[in-house]
């Protein structure tokens, strides 16, 4: 009996300590300029629960709007925020139209109706060979899946495991914040997926290996062979299907939406995309969005080759130019 009392007291102390840690996490977790590279479903839920999201311009794009290859403050939504726009950047690496649609479904399901949504349409993601095709980001998939209709689910490859232990793991993560946000905590502390990866990266940097890899990683045209599929677009294409669904959702929710045709490096990709087929794809998606009442900004050819890091990601200076142009459009 004395032993059971002892164990009970140990359990109470442990739960209290972990509960306090969770409270501290909820109270002091900062509002970042953008999502981290490995964000969790509990972090996304926490952001969505914020009261001020209703009054904000929410960016729901891919890596181009997330700010790939740049510090968070150099991404275009952060530059707009610095100019006084009430901006929330919910873009992420690996985004796509299907992801934008799923994320908007999550926002609306939680009663969040942003002042405006801004997303980008990247034609490379309409290619079945793209890594984001038919795929939702794990945290988005976890939150959006219950709200998706059967035809929508059929068009996606579900990544989340449905085994009992995986479901139990997600359940624990939804009630125990510290556990649910472990990937965000590690990213925040180590700047990498975990401590060993951070140590590995450091060793790589010190040995000069990282610099050698960066020099070898020059975006030459041949790397993009097959990135764009210029076959005519139709409803069989998963991204077209979700773009149509997105247009319908924006209309039903009566949202103000701005769609950006992603800046693309035509100098680098000249031999692959400077053709009537590519122009036809752009015209197809533009017409669909304009018919649904969305504002479409054609930034496809707006930037010079010097403004790009690679095929579709702008440099810091390129993002400044982009922010200037977007600021004009958003104040209209």
């Amino acid at each position: 009996m004395r032993f059971l009392v002892f164990v009970g007291k140990v359990a109470i102390a442990m739960v209290l300590a972990l509960g306090l840690a969770d409270l501290a996490l909820r109270a002091f977790w900062p509002n970042d300029l953008r999502l981290d590279e490995n964000f969790s479903a509990p972090l996304l839920t926490r952001i969505i629960a914020r009261d001020d999201l209703q009054k904000r311009i929410v960016f729901l794009g891919d890596s181009a709007l997330w700010g790939y290859g740049l510090d968070a403050q150099d991404a275009v939504p952060s530059l707009l925020a610095a100019r006084g726009f009430p901006v929330e950047n919910l873009s992420y690496e690996g985004g796509s139209i299907a992801n934008t649609y799923a994320l908007l479904r999550i926002l609306l399901a939680h009663g969040v109706r942003p002042r405006m949504i801004v997303f980008n349409v990247n034609l490379k993601e309409f290619s079945p060979g793209d890594s984001a095709y038919r795929t939702l980001y794990p945290a988005v998939e976890q939150l959006a899946w219950p709200d998706l209709t059967p035809p929508e689910r059929q068009r996606l490859d579900r990544k989340a495991k449905t085994t009992l232990d995986a479901r139990f793991d997600r359940r624990i993560g939804s009630v125990w914040m510290l556990y649910g946000m472990r990937s965000d905590i590690r990213e925040k502390i180590f700047g990498a997926a975990d401590a060993s990866t951070a140590l590995d990266d450091r060793i790589h940097a010190l040995s000069g290996e990282a610099q050698r890899e960066a020099r070898a990683h020059v975006p030459t045209a041949d790397r993009f062979l097959g990135t764009y599929d210029l076959a005519p677009l139709d409803n069989e294409n998963v991204e077209v299907f979700f773009l149509r669904r997105l247009c319908e959702l924006v209309k039903i929710a009566n949202l103000r939406a701005v769609a950006i045709l992603t800046p693309t490096n035509h100098t680098l990709l000249h031999e692959y995309i400077d053709s009537p087929d590519y122009a036809a794809q752009l015209a197809y998606v533009t017409e669909m969005m304009e018919n649904a009442g969305l504002t479409v900004l054609d930034d496809d050819r707006r930037f010079a080759a010097k403004d790009f890091l690679d095929n579709d990601h702008l440099t810091a200076d390129g993002n400044v130019l982009w922010a200037t142009q977007l600021a004009r459009e958003l104040t209209r």
Binding site: F6, V7, K9, V10, A11, I12, A13, M14, V15, L16, A17, L18, A21, N38, S40, S63, Y68, E93, G94, S131, T135, Y137, P138, K159, A160, K161, L178, Y179, R182, S183, I185, R186, I189, A193, D194, A195, S196, T197, P219, R223, F224, T227, D310, N311, H313
Partner: protein
């Protein structure tokens, strides 16, 4: 052995007994006998395991060019 001879024998307790008398071990034992301290220590270990543990999450592997 006289008392005088005994006092000159170096304190040569067997290792197990020596550890039991080590002040740090004694302090740890006393502290962990308190259930609230033990609960706190277990909670700290759990936090450390979460923070320093390996990432096994199914990340979206972003493949840029």
């Amino acid at each position: 052995m006289t008392d005088d001879e005994f006092s000159r024998v170096p304190s040569a307790l067997p290792p197990r007994l020596a550890l039991r008398h080590d002040p740090i071990v004694v302090m740890l034992g006393t502290s962990l006998a308190n259930p609230f301290v033990l609960g706190l220590v277990i909670a700290l270990l759990a936090v450390a395991m979460i923070v320093f543990g390996p990432s096994t999450d199914s990340r979206f592997i972003y493949t840029d060019f």
